[in-house]
Structure formats: C-alpha cells, structure tokens
Symmetry: C2
Subunit: 143 residues, 2 copies
C-alpha cells in the first residue's frame, strides 16, 4: 500500500512543526487514486473513500497533490478536473509535463494513455506543458 509519507521529502527537522502533515484524509485519497487506474474527479474520489471526508477537503488535497507533483490534473471535455497519480515515468522528469489522455464522450471516463508526447516549439513563447486529450467512445460504451 502506497503511503503518503514516502512522498515527504527528506528535510532537516524544523524548529516547531512540519510543513506537511500526513493525515488520514490525504492517505485515503492516495489510496483511492492508487486503487483506480482511471483518472478520478473530486466527486469520484469522494464516493470511493471509505473514510468520511469533507468535499472541500478533497478539493484541497487534490490541488495540493498536483502542486507537489504527486498527481497530475486533466481537464475533461465538460470542464471538470480529473486527477491521477503520476507514474514512475512521471517522476523521471520525462512525462511530468507532457500527458496524453483519453476520455469517453458518453460516460466521461478518463484515463491516461501511454503515448509519446512531443513538446512543439512556438515563436515568442516558452511552452511549459503539453496536454493531449483524445476523445471517442470507450470499450464499454461502444459495445
């Protein structure tokens, strides 16, 4: 079982308190994301949590995970945010700013796609991230 604290960076002990705390809410969200290969929306995470957690807290945790590089965020066709744990490839600095995803037009399920995403060049602008969203009907919905 993936534990949240493995993500805590090694740092010298602060005088008073830690900057990040390992809470059961965070651990719960990690576990849910870990158990599902699909990217999940805040509501989906909330549904799948055993623990009773406030909706706002889930939003905050997911946002935080994205900032810390633990998870990445994808925006679906409906404008909703979906989150998935970053893969090992992510951590290697290879994938972390270049993701490809597939979303079903019908059921809205969204999953990561292991694709080679190149970073194109643009005049006058430095591109920081590249997001590719493929759409169509998933296996279940096209059957």
């Amino acid at each position: 079982m993936l534990q949240y604290y493995v993500f805590l960076p090694n740092r010298k002990a602060p005088k008073v308190a830690t900057e990040r705390r390992n809470t059961k809410q965070k651990q719960g969200v990690i576990d849910v994301l870990k158990e599902h290969k699909e990217a999940l929306s805040a509501d989906e995470v909330l549904d799948k949590l055993d623990l009773k957690v406030n909706r706002v807290t889930v939003y905050r945790i997911l946002e935080r995970f994205e900032q810390e590089g633990i998870a990445h965020r994808v925006v679906g066709l409906e404008g909703k945010s979906y989150y998935a744990l970053c893969s090992d490839a992510c951590d290697s600095g290879h994938h972390h700013d270049r993701h490809a995803h597939f979303q079903c037009k019908s059921c809205k399920s969204l999953r990561c796609v292991d694709a080679e995403v190149i970073r194109p060049k643009l005049d006058n602008v430095k591109i920081e991230s590249v997001s590719v969203l493929l759409t169509g009907l998933c296996e279940s919905c096209s059957a």
Copy 2:
C-alpha cells in the same frame, strides 16, 4: 464582413419554415468571433457584442455553432470553454477534429496554433478527436 447566411445550406424550400434562422444575435456573435483571432469564452463574446444579447442566448449560439461546424470549442485549464471560428483548413476536413491551442497560464488568453496534429491509434477504441493544449506564458505576460 462574414455573413451567417453563407453557412445556410442550399435546400429545397420546406413546407412551412426554415430549420435555421439568421438572426442579428447570431450575426453579432459571428462578427465578434471574426474580429478576434483569439478564441473567446461566452462571457468575452458577450462583452464584445455591440448588440445587447442575453447570456443564455450566447451560450446557445456558441453551442450551436460548434454542432454545425462553424466554430470549434476548446476547454481551457480552468475548465472554461473557448470558441473560435473554424479556419478554411478546418472546412477542408483536415483540421476539424484535430486542433492545437496555446493558453497563457497567467491571463488565460487562448489561441489557435497552426500545428500538425496527428491522430494516434489506441487499442479497442476509435478516436474521434484530438485536442492539444499547450500552456505557458504569453508574450505580454512574460514581459
């Protein structure tokens, strides 16, 4: 000045009334989109309209334009929808389901990028559209 009615297909006169009507609201939205090279959100279109048009009407017109292939929709990082008129390349059937866009992380401005977008293959799934969203800081915001 691009006129909406140019998009009306040639069809035999229906018994009673047309299926599409050319209204000043639609024409206004067309004009606004035409005058701006950036993709615009519903609110931005509303702001730039000379004519006083209801918010809901703008939403409906933009949605309609997308369905009719007059405009295409892009979802920004914040989950908002942006619309831009389809280019000629679009109509040729080359670009219409494969768009690339750049959005500024700071000012959220979003524009089309003339890039070659390939349609990748995925097992068990038919990909209907490919959307590439590049992000970074635009010229103005990075200065």
